[in-house]
Structure formats: structure tokens, C-alpha cells
């Protein structure tokens, strides 16, 4: 039993490390700005999630303390990652794209980032 937990913790740590480095490598390797957003938001979430899970297991199986803070940090990161990604995407759209360079917005006129005060007055 002991060695099973040990193996699990070690496996989580190795997986987490690999995903962490892949996320940051993607940031450098991918060549267009919107694609660069993909690598860190996803890979890093599992990277940190793996470390936190390993820590949770480790503390529960061998440690003198039991802690649920890991769960909280994981939940917090899972909830905030999409929001930061969305904000950074909006910064990119705001600075690099124009209304014409974006795909059509279906039945509406344009995307919310390109909303200007003049539109609202109409």
C-alpha cells in the first residue's frame, strides 16, 4: 500500500513537471499570438493541478498534517484560467485586429471588444 501511494505521488509529480515545461515551451515555439495563448492556459493548469494533487496525496498518506488548501488553489486556478485567457485574447484583438480583419459576427455587427461609444449612441 505504501509503495502504491509513493508511486502515485511520483507519477503525478513527473506528469506535472512535463506539462509545466511543455506549456512554457509552447509559449516560445508557437508562431502566432493567438495560438500562443493556448499552450500556457491549458498545459499549465494540468501542470499545477498535478503538483497540487501530488501534494494532497503525499500529505494524506505520509505527512503529519492533512490539508485541503490544495483543493482550493486548484479550484481557484481552474476558475480563473479561462478569465485571464479571455482578457488577454481581448487585448490582442484590441491592439492587432480591426473590424475588417475579424470573421463576421453572425447576426450582430461586430465583436464586443470593437465596441466604441459612438455605436452606443446610435
Amino acid at each position: 500500500m505504501e509503495s502504491l501511494f509513493e508511486f502515485l505521488v511520483a507519477a503525478f509529480l513527473v506528469i506535472a513537471g512535463i506539462f509545466g515545461i511543455v506549456g512554457s515551451y509552447g509559449l516560445i515555439k508557437l508562431n502566432d499570438p493567438m495560438s500562443r495563448l493556448h499552450a500556457p492556459t491549458k498545459a499549465t493548469t494540468l501542470g499545477v493541478g498535478g503538483v497540487l494533487l501530488a501534494s494532497l496525496l503525499n500529505a494524506a498518506a505520509f505527512g503529519k498534517y492533512f490539508s485541503v488548501h490544495e483543493l482550493m488553489i486548484t479550484l481557484f486556478l481552474f476558475l480563473t484560467a479561462p478569465i485571464t485567457a479571455n482578457f488577454i485574447a481581448k487585448v490582442h484583438i484590441h491592439r492587432q485586429e480591426t473590424r475588417e480583419s475579424m470573421p463576421s459576427a453572425g447576426e450582430d455587427h461586430h465583436w464586443a471588444t470593437h465596441d466604441t461609444p459612438e455605436d452606443e449612441e446610435q
Binding site: 511543455v22 482550493m72 485574447a89
Partner: protein, 165 residues
């Protein structure tokens, strides 16, 4: 009943705050439960003017299924993205914008859908249209944008429709 409604405007938020407080305290005792519950009553009451509407969840059990599906997809997403980053040269990748027409109407449901899209394989929600009828999604590698759009509508939006509407 009306008084209760005014004192506890968001019962779900109250539960969530109590749970969060217990997690923060990192232990289980009656003391922290009561204090957490007090915070759970006080905070929604004080911040009431900022959220006048209450999200309606008609089928809570569907929400559990949804969370499990999304968790599984997050793990898959990580593997898919890691494989693309490591093994696919930039010239073979087909990054693409897709527009998803929305059937969902409530802001909570649209936010959940956008968050889900960001966390799942190879897609990232970037923006909504100015009237809120469409969602702009960026794909890391999508040779066939139509298929991605249909899958998102089938897999996530249909479930969210059942939960929220």
C-alpha cells in the same frame, strides 16, 4: 418568506461562501462553520445591489454530469495541446477563427460555456458579439472548423441548455 428572501438573497452563494470559509480554515469545527455561515449571510446581503438577478438552475443533477464531462475533457485537452506543441511543426498547424451562434440567453450560461470552451481541447473563447448572439472561438489546429463548431454545440451547449433553461 419575503423577509427571508430579502435577508438571504442568494442561498447558493451563502452555501458556497460557507464552504470556501471551511476550506480556508483548513479544518472542521463548529466554530468555523458558524462563522463561515455568518459571512455567507453577511456578504451576499451587503453586495446585493451588484447582482440583482439570481441565476436559475432547473436541473442541478445535470450539472454534476456536466462537471464530470468537462473535467475529463480538460485532461484530454492537455494531452492534445501538448502533442500539438511538441510534435506538430508550425507550418502544418491550421489556426482558425470560428463563430458560434448561441442559443443560450442568460449571461451565466454564456459565461460557463465560454469558460468550458477555453478549458477544452484546442479551442479558446476570445470574445462575444456586441449584442451577445455569437461567440468568437480560436482554434489551435482546426482543418475543419464546421466540425469543431458542431461538436461544441452538441457536447456542451446542449447540456447547458438543459441545466439553465
Amino acid at each position: 418568506m419575503k423577509l427571508l428572501r430579502r435577508l438571504v438573497p442568494h442561498p447558493l452563494l451563502t452555501l458556497l461562501l460557507t464552504g470556501t470559509w471551511l476550506l480556508l480554515v483548513n479544518g472542521w469545527s463548529l466554530n468555523s462553520l458558524v462563522f463561515g455561515f455568518m459571512l455567507g449571510i453577511l456578504i451576499p446581503f451587503v453586495t446585493q445591489p451588484y447582482w440583482p438577478d439570481r441565476p436559475r438552475i432547473s436541473r442541478p443533477f445535470k450539472a454534476i454530469e456536466y462537471v464530470l464531462v468537462v473535467l475529463w475533457d480538460i485532461v484530454q485537452a492537455n494531452i492534445v495541446v501538448a502533442r500539438i506543441v511538441l510534435f506538430k511543426p508550425n507550418s502544418e498547424r491550421r489556426p482558425n477563427w470560428i463563430t458560434i451562434p448561441l442559443d443560450l440567453k442568460t449571461p451565466e450560461a454564456i459565461t460557463t460555456l465560454a469558460g468550458t470552451i477555453t478549458m477544452t481541447p484546442g479551442t479558446l473563447s476570445a470574445d462575444v458579439s456586441d449584442e451577445g448572439h455569437c461567440l468568437l472561438v480560436h482554434c489551435l489546429d482546426a482543418p475543419d472548423p464546421e466540425a469543431v463548431r458542431d461538436e461544441i454545440k452538441q457536447r456542451y451547449e446542449r447540456r447547458l441548455m438543459e441545466i439553465f433553461e
